[in-house]
């Protein structure tokens, strides 16, 4: 039982991180109908910015104030993501209004390569580490309930907490503010949104910005766990099944989809893995996504697509 719980919790924590990346996809899809292939590149770019700025700012401050350096680096990286969002809207999206979905998809693919390239030109292509001072040592919990207790990684726990806070903030933003309402309006109907005075261009900058911040948070957490390197961009591929499962248009869907896939991966690896020779973790999510595509293409919480004939 304790082992099962440990696996389950481990899966939930991993799932929370998938959710963070998936959120970026959902935000942009919701507000502009674009499936943003560059989300992974944005995570990489944000993590690179964060790693290098904290290094540079830390060096300038004398290296003894880790927290201040990290906070400053986070803010600067946030500004960098804002500039990226602004440039993307200016140079790419603005010129592609009313184009086919496939055109926009290809455009984001292009953005992905440019971001990866520019990111490495600006910030270097080595492996960097982000040290935000998260405790790495695992703790034992519930020792009185189970023999030996449950081993929980403190770092994972904090990361999950941060992800949860971010999700709560996004929910408040979308549901309670007039800008959030404007975003939902733009997602539903461009023409009508314009007619009530919502400026499309500004809304797009805001959305890419929010997605950029989500990418930054995901990048910092993944980066501090695994180090910042090129392979971070492929994290996005792991989040693809999450959005298929949760539904492309649903913020809660991204969260719950992430959790299901995180847990499913770990449990299947541990319990089914030995029977078939292991390696399930790698393809489990895609299998699940495939099943969903066959039987429920709109995902768990997505809007059902009904075509009027």
């Amino acid at each position: 039982m304790a082992f099962f719980l440990e696996t389950l919790i481990g899966g939930l924590m991993a799932g929370m991180l998938y959710s963070l990346v998936a959120l970026g996809f959902v935000l942009i899809y919701k507000a502009s109908g674009v499936f943003n292939f560059a989300q992974g590149a944005m995570v990489l770019f944000a993590a690179l910015a964060m790693a290098r700025f904290s290094e540079w700012i830390g060096g300038a401050l004398g290296g003894d104030n880790l927290i201040l350096a990290n906070i400053l680096a986070f803010l600067v990286a946030g500004v960098v993501m804002f500039i990226v969002a602004w440039i993307i809207e200016r140079l790419v999206l603005r010129n592609l209004v009313n184009q086919e979905g496939a055109t926009l998809l290809m455009a984001t693919l292009g953005i992905a390569y440019v971001l990866e390239g520019v990111g490495q030109t600006l910030f270097g292509s080595e492996i960097y580490k982000i040290d935000v001072g998260m405790p790495k040592d695992p703790v034992m919990m519930l020792e009185s309930v189970f023999e030996g207790g449950i081993l929980i990684n403190k770092e994972d726990f904090i990361a999950a907490l941060i992800a949860a806070v971010l999700v709560a903030l996004l929910w408040l933003f979308f549901q309670k503010t007039s800008t959030g309402r404007a975003l939902r309006a733009v997602a539903d109907d461009h023409q009508a949104a314009l007619s009530i005075g919502i400026p499309l261009n500004r809304i797009w900058v805001i959305v890419w910005c929010v997605a950029g911040v989500a990418a930054l948070v995901a990048g910092v957490i993944w980066g501090s766990k695994l180090g910042v390197q090129f392979s971070l961009a492929t994290v996005a591929l792991r989040a693809l099944p999450v959005v298929i499962l949760g539904g492309l248009t649903s913020v809660p869907g991204a969260i719950i989809g992430g959790l299901i896939i995180g847990v499913g991966e770990k449990l299947s690896e541990v319990y089914i893995g030995p029977m078939v020779g292991g390696g399930i973790e790698i393809w489990f999510a895609y299998m699940l996504a495939l099943v969903f595509l066959l039987f429920r293409p709109q995902g768990l919480f997505g809007e059902k697509i009904i075509d009027r004939v």
Binding site: L169, L172, F173, K176, T177, S178, T179, R181, A182, R184, A185, A187, D188, D189, Q191, A192, A193, L194, S195, I196, G197, I198, P199, L200, E303
Partner: protein, 260 residues
Amino acid sequence: MSKQIGDVILDLQNISLRFGGVKALTDISFDVREHEVRAIIGPNGAGKSSMLNVINGVYHPQEGKILFRGEERQKMEPHRAAAQGISRTFQNIALFKGMSVLDNIMTGRNLKIKSNLLMQAIWWGPARNEELAHRAKVEEIIDFLEIQHIRKTPVGRLPYGLQKRVDLGRALAMEPKVLLLDEPMAGMNVEEKQDMCRFILDVNDQFGTTIVLIEHDMGVVMDISDRVVVLDYGKKIGDGIPDEVRSSPEVIKAYLGAGH
């Protein structure tokens, strides 16, 4: 009718609009006076919707001038037009289908909300009062349009006639100077049409809103408009009070064909 028609609020001078080689509008001039109900009618493909889209800023005419409240405007975008007090409804309803009736109408207040994001998010003091004030205004509109019973329903689930009403509600929430209605009665049954006519006249009467409306159905238009412009093949063929327009031989010809 006791209402006072005011000065010219919207003046269109020699408007021509082309899409490539297709002439949608050719040299059209007319004006709209404050507090009046001004109709634009014409057979299919006459350029009525293009005209509305020119006023709204969706299309930019190649030639001609548009004066709104005495000021000439250049290449105005729709969201700027909205900020200046021009709101509209759509022929093929363009509501935010996933949102409730209340939220849809509330989006019409978006431009008027002044408090900042952070305060709104934490639902704090002034931001909260502001939101409540806007809500009160929206509730007023909901009462006015007699749609209290569906306030919380997602608009995607409503029947066509009610969706049209919500569309009108959202436009009204902006408290526009000029309200553009794109075929407000299209596809409605007689009873729904009567309701819609009543709402349009009440809006005009109670709020003093200037209304420009496009309609296909001549009969309805003649009953509720103060003045009517008639378009045919992108050209103006009539302009005046309903009785004048109705008896103009050119208008009759356009509607019924030659030989009548």
